[in-house]
């Protein structure tokens, strides 16, 4: 018995799942930055480069998802 049938590419679902982790990660980074700045406003300039480095490193995971989705799309 077939319950459901999916045609075409399910890559978008896969990418949606893959984006959850980086989404949480980036959220945590900015939440921590806002909290740190609220507690100690004069540290905002000092921590900002680390925010962007952390953001970039975490975001790379989501971008790997895009790149490999295209690279391995191959046959249907």
């Amino acid at each position: 018995m077939e319950l459901a049938e999916v045609t075409g590419s399910v890559a978008a679902i896969g990418y949606g799942l893959a984006a959850i982790g980086p989404g949480i990660g980036v959220g945590l980074i900015f939440a921590s930055y806002i909290q740190a700045t609220a507690r100690q406003p004069e540290s905002s300039r000092m921590t900002l480069p680390f925010v962007w480095i952390g953001f970039a490193v975490v975001e790379a995971l989501a971008l790997l998802g895009i790149a490999f989705g295209i690279v391995w799309q191959g046959g249907s």
Binding site: P49, W52, F55, I70
Partner: protein
């Protein structure tokens, strides 16, 4: 270039945009397919280089005590990279790298900017070749300055052997090697490429999606307006990403150089 703008008949808008949308017709020989010697992408990179050289040469040629607009812009761009990135992360001895990093920042920024300039709207950085070369330069640079400062053996010992108990080193050394010498250049190139690639793809999805809905049926036709408004909103988001990615690329390069120059980990 205007002769090659493709006017699509409404009936056959190719809806799901794909990788083939990134390959533009070649300019020399004019309009040839499957010929990638001199495409619009190549032309855009040359234009970027020309703008960059002309801008900095002209604005610094006759510097005034009270700067004019162009000089102010050039000085504050250089000052931003020099003071906010290089001096903060590498200290005052790192100022010798500031000219390269400023050029890198401006080059990536201008190349990214083509992604949202109306009429062009395709960044050369959405082809992985250009980010790859930039990442390779950064890779060679940070390894080179590390080896120059510490010598070959000590640099690799610094980079690969963390201060940890002996029994855990067989696990740590391969991880350090992969993350420092393989993933760094790879993610550096991929991050810039994927951001520009995804940005272009998103704009295409909403623009072409508007046409697709206009053609689909009467009920979906009004939604296409929403889709095109979304394109405009996302163009502003892209404007943010354009600056951010140029900044992130330079900050990461600087941070890798900082790691290579650090005495102890």
């Amino acid at each position: 270039m205007s002769g090659q703008v493709i006017a699509l008949p409404l009936a056959d808008v190719p809806f799901p945009p794909g990788v083939e949308d990134f390959y533009l017709p070649s300019l020399i020989p004019w309009g040839a397919h499957e010929s990638y010697w001199f495409t619009k992408i190549t032309a855009l990179v040359w234009v970027t280089t020309a703008i960059l050289i002309l801008f900095f040469v002209l604005s610094y040629r006759n510097p005034k005590m009270v700067p004019r607009k162009a000089q102010w812009l050039a000085e504050s761009t250089y000052g931003f990279v020099r003071n906010n990135i290089v001096v903060d992360m590498l200290g005052h001895t790192g100022v010798r790298f500031a000219p390269y990093l400023t050029t890198l920042f401006c080059f990536i920024f201008l190349n990214n900017l083509w992604g949202i300039v109306p009429g062009v709207q395709l960044s050369p950085n959405s082809h992985i070749a250009f980010p790859t070369v930039l990442a390779l330069i950064s890779y060679v640079l940070f390894n080179w300055i590390g080896i120059k400062k510490f010598g070959f053996a000590r640099y690799f010992k610094n980079a690969l052997v963390p201060p940890a108990p002996l029994f855990i080193l067989p696990i740590l050394i391969p991880i350090e090697f992969v993350s420092t010498f393989l993933f760094r250049p790879f993610t550096l190139a991929l991050r810039l490429f994927a951001n520009m690639f995804a940005g272009h793809l998103i704009l295409l999805v909403f623009t072409l999606g508007g046409f697709a809905m206009l053609n689909a049926n009467l009920w979906l036709a009004p939604v296409s307006v929403l889709s095109w408004l979304m394109t405009i909103a996302l163009t502003f988001l892209e404007a943010l990403i354009v600056v951010l990615q140029a900044y992130v690329f330079v900050v990461l390069t600087t941070s890798y150089m900082q790691g290579a120059l650090a005495e102890e980990h």
